[in-house]
Symmetry: C2
Subunit: 272 residues, 2 copies
Amino acid sequence: MQLAIAGLGLIGGSIALAARERLGARVVGWDPDPGAVAAAERLGVIADGAGSLASAVAGADAVLAAAPVGALPALVAELLAQASEGCVVTDVGSAKGSLCEAVSDPRFVGGHPLAGAETSGVANARADMFDGAVWYLTPSAASSRAALERVRELVCGLGAEPVEVGAGEHDRLMATVSHLPHVFANVLVGQLAGLDAAARPGPSFRDATRVAGSNSAIWSGIYLENRVALGAAVDDAIARLEQVRALLVSADSVALARWCEQAAADRARLER
Amino acid sequence: MQLAIAGLGLIGGSIALAARERLGARVVGWDPDPGAVAAAERLGVIADGAGSLASAVAGADAVLAAAPVGALPALVAELLAQASEGCVVTDVGSAKGSLCEAVSDPRFVGGHPLAGAETSGVANARADMFDGAVWYLTPSAASSRAALERVRELVCGLGAEPVEVGAGEHDRLMATVSHLPHVFANVLVGQLAGLDAAARPGPSFRDATRVAGSNSAIWSGIYLENRVALGAAVDDAIARLEQVRALLVSADSVALARWCEQAAADRARLER
């Protein structure tokens, strides 16, 4: 199998490593930054670096677009224009709605692995990045069943668990499961940095802010791309915080205890 | 040294274990629940269980109150009434303002270790619970310097790092560093549980909600006790979320990127 990867960052590099080690794939890589291509070759992450998108895609059975979400619509369109009839194209973007609406090619299936790290760049790529991770697949009405099957096989081969979901539902889910936790983390570091006190964060703060200040180019793109669903999730969060605020103002110990118990029940339900 | 511990839960039990192993202290324990006393004796967490507060405190050089915050004012008052002239009394409550205002005894110094776990109960106690942890000390104007020094030595002996701070500043800091992250965690599990979707939390959600649904009896007491500072922190969080909401509505990519960069700078400043 020949795999082309467009975008040699942490995720693209990790897909390349896993595909080489686990699938025995020949991986050709391209990146708008020639330095990233050279690094990926030097580190043995890819077999060959390509000087252009067209040469990366030539002869590929599957193409992965691993760029920041804002760059994906143009990149995926160009990949589809270059790819052969029998080639499948997928991506790893964290927001799927507008991309999957814009693309109506049977060879394309949107994708999104729930993986990553605080690190970035191809030098931090790891072959085991996707082991046991959920990898959402968001086929549109235009996607062919054959393309979906092939992307599903690829994702399984990389160690992940493919989960099929509509693009809109994916984005609403991600707004709560990933994007809002990132917003909360940024809010928390902002609040603590704003205090005069010599701050000594404890374990709950450290865990809650592990993803604070994540790569701004990537994350501002994700927030922008998923602004509708994330905006709704932020509104819901504000409404819930205002409820807590009211319980605190009224010093209502019974209602506060009930609120805590509801959270324990919600958590137990999510872990079932 | 003889140490009395009133309250044999996760924290009280861990203090007992650390005091026995590291300070060679004789530890006498009391708990309103006789079952907890029996368990602590059986597990070797304490040398002797006491049938009453008075017998626990008799002969002690230091007394630790390790009860939920709502129970601390009455407990500390009774401990001081029973303790000898030369004995020091401290506590481990997560909110310090009202307790430290209410107590005006030179033998008392408020305390709060930044430690804990999702587990609870004496069976989960660990001697290394406080290793390297910040342990806030909040002496009031009434606290004697000698008492402060002895509590500081005790805390160091348990493996923690004592950090002296005013009770009010402690509470404002904790509102942001610990109590608000717990509120955020509860809000997140509530939002996700409210979605119809088959939720598959990723790593950022799991970290952000590690403390969701924490022991409701303990945490509703903490929220109530620190309701003024926590209410202000919640207000500040709502204001920050409304700013993010406005950036999303206006689809302002430059401002969103600036907001992400500010979070990265805040985080870097906190880690300095």
